[in-house]
């Protein structure tokens, strides 16, 4: 396992794909996952995939990813869907502290075959 996983562009058939991240240092603040949108199938109304990013305590985030072409504010095709989850913070003494998370899991559920390059990194 590693702090950064880079998977070059590939065609993903429907199914579930998992990567694990660890080797965090005390400066780790978040996990960021980027998925390039290379002629994704369907339309923006279709949930063609789901990305889940969880810390080892079970907290984190999950997002449905749209098919087709998503536009930016400038009206240009969005090049990549990007998700980010911060290290949780909890009450500590009179203040707050980052949780001591040891690892994270990235799960990519593909519903319609699509092409993407994936970068997952603990930053």
């Amino acid at each position: 396992m590693a702090r950064r996983v880079v998977i070059p562009q590939a065609l993903y058939q429907p199914g579930t794909y998992t990567s694990n991240l660890d080797q965090f240092n005390p400066q780790t603040n978040e996990i960021v996952v980027s998925l390039t949108r290379v002629a994704w199938p369907g339309t923006p109304e279709d949930d063609v995939a789901r990305i889940t990013v969880l810390w080892n305590d079970g907290s984190g985030g999950e997002w449905e990813l749209p098919g087709g072409v998503i536009l930016t504010r400038e009206g240009l095709p969005l090049a990549a869907s990007v998700v980010q989850v911060s290290v949780p913070e909890v009450a500590s003494g009179n203040g707050r502290a980052k949780k001591n998370v040891a690892s994270g899991t990235v799960t990519f559920l593909v519903r319609q075959a699509l092409t993407t390059a994936i970068t997952a990194e603990a930053q």
Partner: protein
């Protein structure tokens, strides 16, 4: 029981169709506050009611007027169920979102919402607007700011004065600029938030809401008792 911060989980999604945020080990009876900043290409996001598993009753506050497809929202659940909690919000198709989900203890388990205000503008000085006077001294104040621009560094300062920052992201070019903040107050009064001076003029939308601490009874007037004169008989 005094209001106290328990935990916060923050995340973002760029080009997504729904957004879940998972909070670990929520304690039964606690309060969950969700601050979101959203941009959609479909004319601006509507105020949506989150759902969650386990089931909690989610409430929205009055949505600010959206500005060029962007807005921000404060939603909340009182008397939450215990356990790992997945909170879902869905603003439509291909939206850009940043969110903080925060657990507090000591907030009223019913009718918690007290005062709120909202504001928007295009300038370098975002502010939330000013609420009405809170009805009780001990309350939780939550504020959220959305900056909508193509700036990679918006220049947001955490909210002032007396606030603790929950989540800040300066990159509006990637989703939106976001700041969510809170403070716990111990005196009645109006509430507002400001976020410093942005790098350049940008669109911004802000929201503030206050929530009552649990267990504070409203002041009541004691019945007026007539004092009877006393005379002491000395014998």
């Amino acid at each position: 029981m005094a209001v106290a911060f328990v935990q916060t989980v923050n995340n973002s999604g760029l080009g997504v169709n729904s957004h879940n945020i998972v909070v670990n080990a929520v304690a039964a009876g606690n309060f969950l506050g969700l601050c979101t900043t959203v941009w959609t290409g479909g004319g601006g996001p509507s105020n949506v009611t989150p759902t969650s598993s386990p089931t909690n009753t989610w409430n929205t506050t009055t949505a600010p007027t959206q500005l060029n497809g962007a807005s921000c929202f404060i939603c909340y659940a009182m008397n939450a169920a215990s356990g790992n909690t997945t909170i879902t919000v869905d603003y439509g198709t291909g939206f850009y979102i940043r969110a903080s989900a925060t657990e507090f203890s000591g907030v009223s388990t019913s009718a918690a919402i007290d005062q709120q205000a909202a504001n928007n503008g295009s300038s370098t000085a975002p502010t939330s607007g000013t609420t009405g006077t809170t009805v009780q001294a001990n309350e939780l104040v939550m504020a959220v700011l959305c900056v909508n621009s193509s700036e990679t560094n918006c220049g947001i300062d955490p909210a002032t004065t007396g606030y603790t920052n929950l989540f800040t992201n300066q990159n509006s070019a990637e989703a939106n600029g976001h700041s969510s903040d809170y403070k716990i107050v111990s005196a009645t009064g109006t509430q507002s938030a400001a976020w410093g001076t942005l790098t350049v003029t940008q669109d911004w939308i802000a929201k503030i809401a206050t929530f009552k601490e649990a267990g504070a009874a409203a002041a009541t007037s004691l019945p007026l008792r007539r004092a009877f004169p006393m005379s002491i008989m000395m014998q």
